[in-house]
Symmetry: C2
Subunit: 153 residues, 2 copies
C-alpha cells in the first residue's frame, strides 16, 4: 500500500515508510460523518487519501469555528496520538466523501520506539508543523489587534 | 553547571543533562536589552536562570504585541534553532536584569545527532510545547470570535 507522503513522514527512507504503511488501514468516510471529536482520547492518526475533511473547534454552545479544510492527499489529522495527554485538539468531519488511512497511535508509537531515527524524524516534522500553525494563529491575532488599534485612532 | 530544568529537557537522564550543560554558557542581561529579534537567523537557544524576559511580535510599524513574560528559572526561548528554516519567531527583551544560559544551536544539534534518544526526547518535548501554545493561541481567537458573535446578536 502506498501512503501519500504528508509532512509527518518527510525524510523517512523507503524501508521506514513500508513499516508505517504496514500498520495503516484504509477506511471510507461519508459526507457529514464525524471522524474524531475535540477533547476525546486520541487513538488513531488519519491521513487523507481522497475526499476532504473539515477541522473545527467548539466555541460556545453548539457554535463551531472552522480551523481548516484538508483536501490534499497526505494531509494529516489526529496528531494528538503523538503528544501527551493524547487528546484530539480539534473535531474532524468529512466534507467530501473519500478514503482515509487510519493508523493506530499505539502501533505508530511502537515503530517509533523500535527505530529511534524514525521517531526523531517524525517528532521533528511534527514540531515544525505545530510551529508553523502557531505562527499562522498568531498572525490571526495580529489582524484582530490591528483592527482594534485602528478603531482607537 | 546545573541547568534549571525547563520543558525541553524533561525526561533526559543525568548523563544527557551533563552533556547539554557542558555546551551552555552563562550570560548576563540588562533591563531593556534586546536578546534576539523576530525573523532573524536563530543561532542560540536561551534558558532563563534569573530575571525576566518579555517575548513580543511586531504588529505594524513600531507597535509590538506582547506574547508572554518568562520569569521562571528553566523557561526557554529561541527554540527556532531546532526547527527549519531556523529563524526566531519572536523578539525577546530583558524585562528584569538577570542571567541566561545560552546554548549554540549547532552544538545542541550535534548532541542530538550523536544521541538519537536525546534528540527524540527533546523534539517530543518541543512538539508538546508548541501544541500547548497553539491551543492557547486558538483560545484567544475563540474569545475574539465570541465577542464578535455577541455583538451581532
Amino acid at each position: 500500500m502506498d501512503l501519500p507522503l504528508g509532512y509527518l513522514f518527510r525524510g523517512l527512507d523507503d524501508d521506514q515508510l513500508k513499516r508505517i504503511a504496514a500498520v495503516a488501514r484504509e477506511v471510507s468516510m461519508e459526507n457529514g460523518e464525524q471522524i474524531c471529536r475535540e477533547e476525546e482520547e486520541a487513538k488513531d492518526l488519519y491521513i487523507l487519501k481522497t475526499g476532504a475533511v473539515e477541522l473545527m473547534t467548539k466555541v460556545e454552545n453548539d457554535v463551531e469555528l472552522p480551523i481548516s479544510i484538508l483536501q490534499s492527499p497526505g494531509d494529516i489529522f489526529g496528531s494528538g496520538v503523538l503528544i501527551a495527554p493524547y487528546l484530539y485538539s480539534l473535531t474532524a468531519r468529512c466534507a467530501g466523501t473519500g478514503i482515509l488511512f487510519r493508523i493506530e497511535g499505539s502501533a505508530l508509537q511502537k515503530l517509533m520506539g523500535e527505530d529511534r531515527d524514525l521517531g526523531c524524524i517524525i517528532m521533528t516534522n511534527l514540531a515544525g508543523h505545530f510551529f508553523a500553525r502557531l505562527k499562522e494563529s498568531r498572525q490571526e491575532i495580529k489582524i484582530h489587534f490591528n483592527t482594534l488599534l485602528r478603531s482607537y485612532r
